[in-house]
Symmetry: D2
Subunit: 351 residues, 4 copies
């Protein structure tokens, strides 16, 4: 091999039969380093689904349909340069401990997102495992921490939308630190474990709030992100609402303000002018989730309700792409020194 | 006719080919006075659809499928005891002026909802027509005003959900008068006029905010209702979100509070203990829109986010039933001295 | 009690936490004999859900929300005049044997639908339990067999749609006995047991064929019905397709014909002219499932493809209402000597 | 420029604000020749939408959001190497006549699909314009005709699915030439013109057959394709069914057969073994539309109903991708001598 040849990258995905794992694979199959042969997809693992083919779970991933899923274990995950962990919460720490430090571990779960051990224990229970560089490069300071990182905590889907929706406002100090968030989400955010409440018959034709009253586990993560940007505690009320679509989050976030619509919009366009994935819509325009389906784009609309004295920001993401697997691949790109946007699109699949 | 025989009631529906008119007819077809022959369905009118059959627009209304729609005019609507107006905004005043005072006019449009002429002009434009008794019997004082009324303004769908969600809290004074509302709605609230933004291909698989920044016409109506109950101005920020279902509104409403969850819940159960259609769910339980589809029920969940110091109330209605035609029939019942619940159900069609 | 007072009817529902059981209860809550107090809803039972409230499973059934579910057993079901069995296949026989012959048993399951023991064993496995009067009154001879019956087998949802779609044609002999059926169905037909394939994320945005090649258990039931009407074997190819809606079946059925559209349409209007629930649409008009949602109506469109020499009949039903619980209540009405249409509507909930 | 530099390709899209035009652009934005700068996107045109930005119609196409749409005219379309026509039927001929023969014209409309002038007149009306090389490379002989072509007729969406589903069977002679097709489709196939019947409120929660009795315009196109492959007339009965999803066609096609499942499956795997986009699923497995959303893949399941003596083949495509714009780009690739799969994926966006 000459010194011009790219270094091969061998990638494993743990939890490949779930939605997050499947989306990581969907994106990797379109990654330019996969297409040119530099990046190869190695071991794919599962829990109960070990021994079955990937195609029986993800028939949309045709090129990998015949791959047989291995057990998730340190042994099966060893020997890869990058390992995506798409496991139930609480299962990542052991791989973090036993896989070499040189392996880029990208955890799509919640285990290493929170820097506050008490918040972890309160919302997730069990033992706190620590925190890792946070895979939301658009937050102040986050991008630098991800370059060359070998341990990455991918943000939750709601925190991705809500944090990007309100970070510019709290950073610029144009709002009181009292944010109200109502975010509607498609069903895939709830994962693939079969539950009555997630059956098609239950969710089709219906909207349902859950975790009302600050109970959703993503609340402390939103507080952490916005407070860090604000340089002081930001008070957050967060209500998630399940709606009948498979993908997408639309987060409506507001806080008291005294600025006008033009000033607010200017804060946002300035904050995101160099971001490849975050797009601030023209004044008077607001996003729809369909515009970002399958893409890593974040579309943001900014308004001020002058009567109510409230800044209202609406952000749309695909919860599985930018909200999970896209954020994971974006972070992997930074960790490996690749172009940050490689394999990721700003073009959604619509209508 | 002996004095024991019930007085016949002859009902017309103007705008019968639209969604609101169709829903009024659906409910009337199940009304006990229709089933026993006392109430008869007279003239059905339409605009451009005049001359066509009702069945070509509403194939679900089988018993009336062969009815031919008349032009909407004072002449075609004359000679009825009750006239439901399901017309575009701004078209009701002329019928109000030219039909006899003895006719019960139930306006499903917005023309007579607002008591503030300036708010009317600002949000609807055109000349202010006045205000009528407001068809939301569950608000303080409203029920008495509807008994025997011959002019009734049916509330907007969002104001129905939002006002019932927060009236008890502002009446009891357990919140600051600063309410933030994000309400998701099915598509039928936008009516039946063909528009690109309402096509199935646009709305399926997508959530979209609109009227962001206090622009939605239902905002002043919510302010009017909550301020009247509070006895002082209530500040309202309202954001509607369109989601991919045909029927249903889920309104998430919040305001700063210092009470705890138990106190808040007690305020609600007390406020609605005698209401036949409003059901406060047990603590920790929150509604879904599917539970109320096709019914006149309002299901309400109450929570307090202690960390954020916020009361969060979630209300579910069917926008076409309790939010439009059900509220209209409930008001008609009161106006005519009938049992308030006649022809209206608390049982939704689920799943 | 005077001899003018109606005889009280006490009804139990076994399997009340599932979709079929819930729909039986939804209909009973609107039944005139329930509303006048003659019919009372007694014991409600469940399997694993015994001990929980009905409201925790069916929040749309507000009037029964606080009812606690009993275990399903001969003991808990004893002492009722009517028992609806909404149990997994293979569980009904024991109740049939141990409950008195005087009890009207209405089985919403498949146990007693087939008259051919071999077909039963081949498609369902296990021991054949026999056959009961078949709860599809619109088939020739069926209505009479249901009057006064105390054992009733409610048809499957697909066989209800397909049999009513094609019985007139095979009875009149206007087609070759070679019927091809492709029926799309909403998700509720698959029941409420949590399965990955039925998750909202799987079914939303997707159409999927299953049981292709004659494997679906409803195939022999369709063959049985059409062959009985034809007076000879009718060859049936049946493919079900799952589509993203909760309720509704649209069955497209065809067979070679030499008659023209007018003749075919006349056969159908004649066959169903006295049926209260079956409505043949005008020529050139075809049904949509939404028109019959929540109702017991069957809407049928009839066409002849002259180029292909094929009669094409499309039938729409609500799989949970006419296809299950509505058929069950209709049959109960006949068994008890009540008006056949009591508590059942021809008006769907649309849009 | 050296002789190694690739020849620049300048592409125009006429009808860019519709669904077909938008999908062509979505695919071009991911085409490797666009990404390396060889292919540039030139003029985008519209009818009534001329003068507005592309972003106001297709907010998912972020990189082109600020492009202003020109009028559709020979002048605005001149000067391009490739012109995609995504216009209402009957509008393509004039561009075909007035643009130079050297321009690759790819017509996504129906104008040049049929080789039978009478069939054209009967189903479309107006003057027959002729026929062009047919953009379904997987049909026998079609690929060669597309290499170097400068006039291409992209197939209809239903004919793409149905022809690929049944061409192997009729070519191999394993069925009688009597095919019955019921194909469910998402709403985007109906285009973006606002019509009541296509509103979200109408299509959500409903399935509806239309064009029943052989009236759909795609019928003669299916007959043409299958008859050409069979070498004799194939009799086709085709019923389309609209279901509540935005994208996707699932075509269930059947015909009498005497072969068994294994033989039938072998015919299909052999027929498509070298096709990059057509994937025959393992025996006993059947496709879902979600697996192909946004991709150019065709997934096919093959079964034999031995009782009924019927071959049943189910094919899934994305109507906008393989069924329209993907087929168009695939054909363009062939016409220009590019790799056939460039810019097209076999990986769908699921769940």
């Amino acid at each position: 091999m000459t010194d011009h040849a790219p270094t091969p990258i061998r990638v494993a995905v743990a939890g490949a039969s779930g939605y997050a794992g499947g989306e990581v694979l969907r994106l990797l199959l379109g990654h330019p380093l996969f297409l040119d042969g530099t990046l190869t997809i190695g071991t794919l693992t599962a829990g109960d689904n070990a021994g079955t083919t990937l195609g029986s779970h993800h028939p949309h991933l045709l090129p990998l349909a015949d791959r047989v899923l291995a057990d998730t274990s340190v042994e099966t995950l060893a020997g890869h340069d990058v390992v995506f962990l798409a496991l139930p919460h609480g299962n990542s720490a052991r791989y973090a401990n036993e896989l070499p430090d040189s392996v880029v571990l990208v955890d799509c779960g919640a285990d290493f997102r929170l820097r506050d051990a008490d918040a972890w224990t309160r919302f997730y229970g069990g033992e706190y495992a620590g925190s890792w560089p946070y895979g939301l490069p658009e937050l102040p300071g986050a991008r630098d921490a991800l370059r060359g990182a070998t341990r990455i905590a991918v943000p939750g889907c709601y925190p991705t939308a809500a944090s990007l929706a309100f970070a510019p406002a709290v950073e610029a100090g144009i709002v009181e630190p009292r944010v109200r968030i109502v975010a509607v989400s498609g069903t895939s955010g709830a994962g693939r474990a079969p539950k009555v409440a997630q059956l098609g018959s239950e969710v089709i034709g219906s909207a349902r709030a859950y975790g009302v009253g600050g109970l959703h586990r993503h609340t402390p993560e939103i507080v952490q992100n916005l407070s860090a940007v604000a340089g002081g505690h930001v008070d957050v009320s967060f209500t998630p609402v399940l709606v009948p679509m498979s993908r997408g989050i639309l987060a409506t976030c507001s806080a008291p303000t005294t600025v006008d619509a033009g000033e607010a919009h200017a804060v946002y366009t300035k904050a995101y002018r160099d971001e490849p994935f975050v797009h601030v819509l023209p004044e008077g325009t607001f996003p729809q989730t369909k515009s970002v389906v399958g893409s890593n784009a974040v579309q943001i609309g900014v308004a001020v309700d002058a009567d109510a004295g409230e800044l209202v920001v609406v952000a749309a993401i695909d919860n599985l792409t930018k909200g999970t697997a896209g954020g994971a691949v974006q972070s992997m790109n930074l960790a490996l020194g690749l172009p940050e946007t490689a394999g990721l699109s700003t073009v959604g699949v619509a209508p």
